[in-house]
Amino acid sequence: MNLTPLLEAHWINAILPELVLCIGGMFLILFDAFAPKARSLTGPIAVVIFILCAWSQRFVAVGTFFGGTYEVGGITRVFDITFVLAGILCTLLSADYLEREGITGGEFYALLMWGTVGMMMMAKGLDLLIIILGLELLSICIFVLLGFQRRLPVSNEASLKYFLMGAFATGFILYGTALFYGATESTNINVMARWFANPDVTITPLLTVAFVLLMAGFGFKLALAPFHPWAPDVYQGAPTPVAGWLSVAPKAATLIALIRIFHAMGPVLPQTKWMTIVAWLAVLSMIIGNSVAIAQRDLKRMLAYSGIAQVGYMTIAMLTINEDAVASIAIYTIVYALMNLGAFGVISMLAKNQNDPQTLDDIAGLGWRRPFHALALAVCMFSLSGLPPTGGFVSKFYIFRTAVQSGHTGIALIGIITSIASVYYYLRVVYYLYMKESAEGQTRIDGGIFATGALAISIIGIFLIGIWPTPLFHAASYAAHLLLAR
């Protein structure tokens, strides 16, 4: 049989990063099983595998592979770097966290890696089938990672909640995809794009239903406003480094998949109300996320609501897909990964019963007891609220500028107002860090060398992007140009 349409030249280079992570995960599990004495090494080995994966990006072949179902390009490289960065930070934070909580980590890191593979598939898939399978691969890793502390009721609750809600969301996505397949006769995004580009296309109610179903499913995965209620409970119960990873990486993967889908639908979007739906999701997310976060004293819940608002900002840029929009989303996800994982990292070091909430009182007066950790948390909070010398400011600026340039001034204004309101609860954390007296029997901060290293990476990254964003922005813009040039 003729295999040429099946396997293009350099196909192995196209999936090299995924292969590295797949095999790395399997190796870790075997290592954990056959060398139980060296279990403390699994964390460092996982970091090495992630770095190998980042390094293998150098050899990646660019183009379309596997019969037009898999596209590797500049933008997927940018997002791959985000995923790997989130993976490395989470691994570094987990290394100390797992040891403190008495969990052995072989499977933990392996699941983290396979989840990353799922995200890479979502970013590169040109076929809705691949995107959905990648999403499911990711979801199943998340279910297990959330429930990793089997003895904690909150952890089990988080896992079960995400499982049930996630199953629903997947159902919606599959249903939407099936309807799109029925209408466009293909699940391939390029074929769908050609179908949508046909001027005779009429938008039937069926297509609108399909779009709404798709957005409901992806909205769940992004924790956009009407689909957000799972987020606070899940983040609260999850092992803290996992919560940080979950709040960052899957969202980035879902966003790039949505960018591809929206871009394919581009020609018909002006004659539909579809983007109005998305705009409402963004506005609701920003308002609900920011206003509820003000009332939260539990740090993880507060960050969950702040995450809902942050996704709202990113969704603003999705309303009109152009080069600037894609570039600003790419930059936002990188910065968001740095600052949110940094914030969750400091919380993960609070050595208390993980079944109890980690509240603002636990970090009171931390600035005088553990200056470095307090500084890291403060920098992340400044960046999340979008204050100038940090990366958070730059990324938010790009997002709002793109929105205004595309003519979504009103929504951008809502974004700016709500993000000003958000400064209150972000800076309240800084207030507790430095202006509050620490009480007797205060919660210990328990961070080893790995976690401290992760925080250092976050701080350096946040300031580097904040002060000197031009190279990153140029790279992202060029990658976005290549993506949209087709």
Partner: protein, 225 residues
């Protein structure tokens, strides 16, 4: 003999169909869940045979592999694990059996009137695509003898081959991701359901966790006592 061969499909259909219907009735009539499950398995197998007779080999094979192989084994495992040997002694027929019988009869009448022999799909262009395979085979070239040439052939009614062709060419990546997905699901299940903390791990565990392990142990002892 000739006549027998010609009527063979009908004979097989009647036999298999009878077994299928009888065993599906027995599924609900048996008192022992294990027996019910086994009769369900028999029903699935009979339906698979019916699929094959309709030239849907692929669906038949999937029926055997997925339903008979996978789901039924799962059923049996669960039934045996929770150790339900007998249902509580209740009457097989409830008080509402007359109403139920009427509803069943109505549905049966509906199917009999709606489902008639005939062609059940439009003759659309996709139909031929799904059941034919175009292939190139090597033949001895007629023009220059001694060299191999190629000849295009088209084969019909090979639907499993057509499915395989699509699965391993256009949908190769989804297929491979699905296999990774199964591996991850398996390992995830083991992680969620594996043994308790071992003594070695307890040494490094924090105090509040040891306390919780202790409580769990006490609860367990109280339960078993």
């Amino acid at each position: 003999m000739e006549q027998l061969t010609a009527s063979m499909p009908l004979i097989v259909f009647v036999m298999i169909g009878t077994v299928a219907v009888a065993s599906s009735i027995l599924v609900v009539a048996m008192r022992n869940p294990v027996h019910s499950a086994l009769f369900l398995l028999l029903t699935f197998l009979c339906v698979a045979v019916l699929f094959v007779m309709q030239k849907a080999e692929f669906v038949g094979a999937v029926q055997v592999l997925v339903y008979a192989g996978g789901i039924m084994v799962l059923f049996l495992f669960v039934v045996m694990l929770i150790n339900v040997r007998h249902l509580p002694d209740e009457r097989v027929l409830s008080n509402f059996w007359k109403g139920g019988f009427l509803v069943g009869l109505a549905v049966f009448a509906l199917f009999v009137t709606m489902v008639r022999p005939g062609v059940y799909h439009d003759e659309n262009p996709n139909k031929s695509k799904l059941s034919t395979v175009r292939d190139r085979v090597a033949i001895n070239s007629t023009k220059n003898p001694g060299r191999l040439g190629h000849k295009r052939i088209t084969r019909h009614n090979v639907n499993s081959e057509a499915v395989a062709n699509a699965l391993y060419t256009d949908y190769l990546v989804p297929f491979e991701v699905a296999s990774l997905f199964l591996l991850v699901a398996m390992i995830g299940a083991i992680v969620i359901g594996k043994r308790e903390l071992s003594a070695v791990e307890e040494e490094t565990a924090p105090d509040y966790m040891l306390a919780r392990v202790e409580t769990e142990r006490e609860i367990k002892e109280a339960m078993s006592a």
